[in-house]
């Protein structure tokens, strides 16, 4: 039996605190290759004899990616490794180059929808999970110096921002904030809406 080569091109895709380990497939003619993933946190390296911990959801999987979000739940440096398995044969471990710390996750501006509900300025925010807070800035068009801010710690369906003046235009933009890594995304595109009402023509 030829030696099974370890997976290559092992890398992390991490966006908005969702972390995935990915690798290139190992090709063995006529065989189904499976993979197993393990992780090691800083604690395991320094206090637990460098033990590795298997991720059961990614043990003997045919996928070439593994969702490691649930296990990367501390802001420390993690090592990750994956090996190929065909029947009783296993490859050497392929180890991620360097460490992964969730503090490096890439943060995207939040999706949001601004709603003018009569005189009420409302915003719907993307639910990105419990780790996310939102900083929402809003202002009356033309009064860019009087920007108001609202911090949204838990995403409910709709957030009430303000009561608008009739017929006026209001603008809104938002960014996410993750306390666990003390980082914010960039701001979303500004969206503006107009309150109902405004100058009505009285016919005499």
């Amino acid at each position: 039996d030829a030696l099974l080569s370890p997976p290559q091109n092992i890398s992390i895709l991490s966006t908005n605190m969702k972390h995935f380990l990915t690798w290139s497939p190992v090709i063995v003619q006529g065989e189904t290759v499976k993979y197993s993933v393990e992780f090691q946190g800083e604690y395991e390296r320094e206090y637990a004899n460098e033990t590795w911990i298997p991720i059961s959801e990614c043990s003997l999987t045919t996928a070439t990616e593994c969702n490691i979000t649930e296990d990367i739940s501390a802001t420390v440096a993690y090592s990750l490794r994956v090996r190929a398995e065909v029947g009783a044969r296993s490859s050497e471990w392929g180890t991620l180059q360097g460490f992964f710390n969730r503090i490096t996750t890439s943060l995207t501006p939040p999706l949001m929808k601004v709603i003018a509900d009569g005189y009420h300025l409302l915003v719907e925010l993307e639910d990105l999970g419990p780790a996310f807070q939102f900083c929402v800035l809003y202002w009356k068009k033309g009064q860019e110096r009087r920007v108001q801010q609202k911090v949204v710690k838990e995403v409910s369906s709709v957030v009430h921002l303000d009561t608008m003046e009739a017929g006026a235009d209001y603008c809104v933009k938002a960014q996410t904030y993750i306390e666990a890594i003390n980082r914010s995304s960039s701001f979303s595109q500004t969206q503006c809406v107009r309150a109902q009402g405004g100058t009505s023509m009285w016919l005499v």
Binding site: Y43, Y47, A48, S56, E70, A74, V76
Partner: protein, 146 residues
């Protein structure tokens, strides 16, 4: 924690612990003894000593407890790893406070920490570690309430 500002993801630690709490506490046969609460509750301590107590208890868990909590259950081991790595991250911040003398211990707290070690050493190491891990909610409650 007084003049010591430490970012602690309590929600994450609590969520991780809650998923294994019943499993861990079921492994602790000695219900009549508490490591963290005997003879007195943490809540009796002065709030001015909060930083010092938190610092020493995080050291206690990182240095003594987690390494003796390995189980046959892979999922439980993963959650213990999550908590241990979170504690390690927090401990680093607490250590900085300690070095800047913002985390000093009063006599009463020093005695309480000594008593916790006595309670811990009164059991065999695995039982003591599992019991201490099972009492994590006592620590988390105290940290959130005080």
């Amino acid at each position: 924690l007084g003049s010591c500002r430490v970012p602690i993801s309590m929600a994450e630690i609590r969520a991780g612990f809650n998923t294994i709490k019943a499993n861990i506490q079921a492994r602790d046969p000695i219900k009549t003894l508490s490591i963290l609460s005997y003879p007195h509750s943490l809540h009796k301590l002065k709030s001015s000593d909060r930083c010092c107590i938190t610092h020493h208890l995080f050291n206690f868990y990182v240095d003594k407890v987690f390494k003796h909590c390995k189980t046959e259950d892979s999922y439980v081991n993963r959650k213990i790893s999550s908590i241990a790595n979170s504690f390690l991250s927090v401990r680093r911040s607490l250590q900085q406070c300690h070095e800047q003398n913002k985390c000093l211990c009063g006599q009463e707290s020093t005695e309480k920490l000594r008593q916790i070690l006595v309670n811990y050493q009164g059991l065999n190491v695995t039982s003591a570690a599992i019991k201490s891990l099972g009492e994590l909610d006592i620590l988390l409650d105290w940290m959130e309430k005080s």
